[in-house]
């Protein structure tokens, strides 16, 4: 970017007022395209990931619809294989990885620190454009025959298929850099830009979670980049790293891939947990029990995430010693996960609980994540995993963690911070109806998958034996309820944008710092730099005025 050039586009003669609401401080499309404001970048990310969620969701519904009956329902086998692959790729790389950190995190993290912006605003904008650039490659692949390898791109199949693997893999490769930049930015911001008095022990747990996530993003994503680059070179030049015909080793690819992609599932779930902390504290009006234990459990997950990739390879032909070690290490994940669940439930005890829509999502998170985590125990037990690996049981397990966990956290956070981001309230009654549909639809969809999985139904199957038909039918009907829930939610949010009531400064009566500044926040986040004297959850130290919902 060079020397000290001015960053404001020259068309602008005036400097915007730092105390003006960030949505109104500057106007026009160019003010968004060139913006260095973390809040606007967060909003742009938010719009993009919601769009990706819509596309990925349509693919998911198509997959379920095809499986409604045996044989061909709406598409042939090749189209089906492309559809489930695109569902995975879009949901993982375009939606879930950037969802909480890049969208909500960008908006909220600097405000919670009491900072004016992130440490590197330009990198922040760059990360967004890199994300869009990578997404364009993915879209190019989609209109060019797409990919039929599954989101895992396992070799040697990904070497032989005639589908558009290279553009899709390059898309994922490019988007990885966006993820790395977001991580670097958050780490620097948390270390360097805390407001006076904002010590490490007063940091909101949302920040602890994002900080742990950022560490994983920075350390793990380069491994994916190298792996995907090798895959492209192998396909393009016949390098012979993974293809046994050329003297390569296909299992090596799986090790490389999961060395990133297992940490990546903690890139997905830890931010979801981070959001849940904020919601539970606000709606129980109580500090999270065992604050330091919960903060450290995020870091523990980040660390353990690097040590368990082998549990994806228990039946891959890996040595028995390796399976033993990875099984043992995998169980350790249960400890930090348990710590979080126990402390959240303990927080509810003797709280002052209000069941608004964000809280409904946070409580659903605890329930669904508990099931997701416990089914992880089944898969950690070696003898049981050998039976369940690559069946629908695994599909249901990771959807309970990623949808029941991350998506519930993300959507709960979206409800929670919606007034802060848009300055408008939404219809609480409709929000509760949407939550009920999502909750019921999700459980119907995936409980059916647990049962057919433990009965032996393999995943990624276009067709199935008659005995599994009833479970597929139930699961597909569940997906319609789930889809209807998200549709209701979308309508509610759009209605809020168009004719929602203006939100007060602190509609939930939270003690947290981001609710103490005006809503929507001014361009500089605070009218004057705040001095932090109490923790974000210290309701017994907060003044009446701070907690006022008016």
């Amino acid at each position: 970017m060079g020397a000290a050039t001015t960053t404001v586009p020259r068309a602008q003669a005036h400097h915007p007022d730092p105390n003006e609401n960030y949505l109104k401080a500057e106007r026009g499309i160019m003010s968004w395209i060139y913006t260095l404001d973390h809040k606007r970048i967060g909003v742009m990310y938010l719009v993009s990931v919601l769009l990706a969620f819509l596309i990925g969701g349509i693919f998911a519904l198509a997959v379920r619809l095809e499986l409604f009956s045996r044989g061909k329902t709406i598409m042939d086998a090749d189209a089906y294989n492309r559809t489930f692959t695109l569902h995975g790729v879009v949901m993982v790389f375009l939606f879930i990885i950037p969802s909480v950190p890049a969208a909500l995190g960008n908006f909220i993290l600097p405000i919670q620190l009491g900072a004016k912006d992130v440490a590197f605003p330009r990198l922040n904008l760059m990360s967004y454009y890199i994300y869009v650039f990578g997404a364009c490659f993915a879209l190019y692949s989609m209109v060019n025959g797409a990919v039929d390898t599954g989101w895992t791109f396992y070799t040697p199949y990904s070497m032989r298929t005639t589908s558009a693997v290279i553009p899709m893999v390059l898309g994922a490769f490019i988007m990885g850099f966006s993820s790395i930049l977001t991580g670097v930015n958050f780490i620097a911001t948390v270390h360097k830009l805390r407001a006076p008095g904002q010590t490490w022990t007063k940091l909101p747990l949302f920040i602890w979670g994002l900080y742990a996530t950022s560490i994983i993003q920075v350390l793990a994503t380069p491994v994916l980049a190298i792996t995907l680059l090798l895959l492209c070179l192998e396909r393009f030049l016949g390098l012979g790293i993974f293809d046994p015909k050329l003297g390569g080793d296909p299992v090596l690819f799986q090790h490389f891939f999961w060395f990133y992609s297992h940490p990546a599932v903690y890139i997905m779930i830890v931010p979801g947990m981070a959001v849940v902390n904020e919601i539970i504290a606000t709606f129980s009006r109580r500090a999270i029990v065992g604050y330091m234990f919960v903060a450290m459990s995020s870091l523990a997950l980040a660390l353990l995430g690097f040590l368990v990739w082998g549990h994806h390879l228990f039946v891959s032909g890996m040595s028995e010693y390796a399976t033993m070690v990875f099984s043992a290490l995998t169980f350790l994940v249960a400890i930090p996960s348990g710590v979080k669940v126990f402390n959240w439930v303990a927080t509810l005890y003797k709280g002052s609980i209000r069941l608004e829509s964000p809280m409904l999502y946070a409580l659903s998170f605890i329930f669904l994540f508990t099931i997701g985590g416990l089914t992880g125990l089944f898969l950690g037990v070696l003898a049981i995993d050998v039976h369940l690996h690559d069946t629908y049981f695994v599909v249901a397990h990771f959807h309970y963690v990623m949808v029941g966990g991350t998506v519930m956290g993300f959507v709960g956070g979206l409800h929670y911070w919606w007034p802060k981001i848009t300055g408008k309230l939404f219809n609480e009654g409709v929000a509760k109806v949407a939550w009920a549909l999502v909750f019921i639809g999700f459980n119907v969809t995936f409980i059916a998958q647990f049962i057919m999985g433990s009965r032996g139904m393999p995943r990624r199957y276009y067709d199935y034996l008659p005995e599994y038909e009833i479970f597929h039918k139930v699961s597909t009907i569940g997906s319609w309820i789930l889809g209807l829930g998200f549709l209701t939610m979308a309508v509610m949010f759009v209605a809020s944008l168009i004719k929602g009531q203006k939100s007060t400064r602190n509609p939930w009566g939270s003690a947290a710092l981001e609710w103490q500044t005006p809503t929507p926040p001014p361009l500089a986040n605070f009218i004057k730099v705040p001095t932090i004297t109490r923790g974000p959850y210290d309701y017994h130290l907060a003044t009446e005025e701070e907690l006022s919902e008016k």
């Binding site: 599954g150 396992y154 109580r286 249960a334 400890i335 709280g351 209000r354 099931i371 125990l377 049981i384």
Partner: protein, 311 residues
């Protein structure tokens, strides 16, 4: 395949399956109780501590002992779980001394079995009851996974290396085999069936591998072989598009080849296409790769008889 006594798991068809199921049910009931307790406490708190005017939440104190107990208490439980899981795994992974060795080759999209005497069969395998079997797995193209739910066991078939699984069948009847590692277009059609029979029937089966079944016309046997050898995963019989040319109206037709020449579909061409698929490739089908099949002459004749009926 449905288990009469357990809704969640398939029927137990081998030694070792029961041990896995006991472990499964142990984790299952632990999970159910754990979830029930968490949900009960949550619901109790939601009702009991709902927000009421004038009642404030109680500030959080410190209870280090409790915190340490529920952080490190679970370690004992997961250590036990790991131990049980590993013990059963090792027990089931080691083949018995006197195991009969069956070679299994995974291909897009079929399983080829080879008996100790060299006889080969596609997608169907017959083994004697109570006889330990060791399957030596390999793959000719991409990664497949040999999955027998009735034995609670699977292992990937990886190109360029050998892997194996073993079990002892304990019930007469059929064991379903799936491919569990995604391998392309007809992944879900890569099914095989293991028939568990008495030792006498097993011997009979080995002796009659290349004769038509009793009382079957050649074209009927051909129709069976068409499914049995997974021809149906690439060749349709109703003219619909699949990775290979359809068999409908194929017999006697003049087929154009990828190299521009033509060939009449007759006995020689069909036989060559089965034994050496890459010798003459039909135009427009250059991307799919048919593996070579080792069929006996009688079987090829039956398939030709069947082809003739597909006008």
């Amino acid at each position: 395949m449905v288990s009469p006594d357990n809704f969640q798991l398939p029927e137990q068809l081998s030694t070792g399956a029961a041990e896995v199921d006991d472990l499964y049910m142990f984790v299952y009931w632990f999970s159910v109780i754990f979830t029930a307790v968490i949900v009960a406490v949550m619901l109790y708190c939601i009702v009991k501590f709902r927000r009421r005017p004038g009642v404030k939440a109680e500030p959080v104190g410190h209870n280090l002992v409790l915190e340490l107990v529920w952080t490190f208490g679970p370690v004992i439980f997961i250590a036990i779980l790991f131990h049980l899981g590993f013990k059963v795994y090792v027990h089931n992974a080691v083949a018995a001394e006197n195991a009969m060795e069956i070679r299994v080759r995974g291909r897009q999209w079929l399983w080829e079995f080879e008996y100790p005497n060299g006889t080969r069969e596609n997608n169907e395998l017959t083994i004697p009851l109570n006889q330990p079997v060791k399957f030596i797995l390999s793959s000719d193209d991409v990664i497949h996974s040999f999955y027998v739910p009735g034995a609670r066991w699977k292992r990937d078939a990886v190109p360029g290396m050998y892997t194996n699984i073993s079990f002892t069948p304990t019930k007469l009847g059929n064991m379903q085999v799936f491919c569990a590692e995604y391998c392309g277009t007809s992944h879900s059609g890569m099914l095989a069936m293991i028939h568990v029979v008495t030792p006498e029937d097993f011997q009979k089966h080995l002796d009659s591998a290349d004769k038509a079944p009793e009382g079957k016309k050649p074209e009927e046997w051909g129709a069976e072989l068409y499914k049995k050898n997974a021809c149906n995963t690439c060749h349709s019989i109703d003219g619909s598009k699949m990775p290979g040319p359809t068999w409908k109206g194929l017999w006697g037709k003049t087929e154009s080849l990828a190299d521009g020449s033509t060939v009449v579909v007759d006995e020689n061409y069909v036989k060559e296409s089965i034994l050496k698929p890459q010798a003459k490739i039909a135009a427009g089908f250059t991307t799919a790769q048919m593996p070579p099949f080792t069929l006996k002459d009688a079987q090829i004749d039956a398939i030709i008889a069947y082809m003739k009926t597909l006008k």
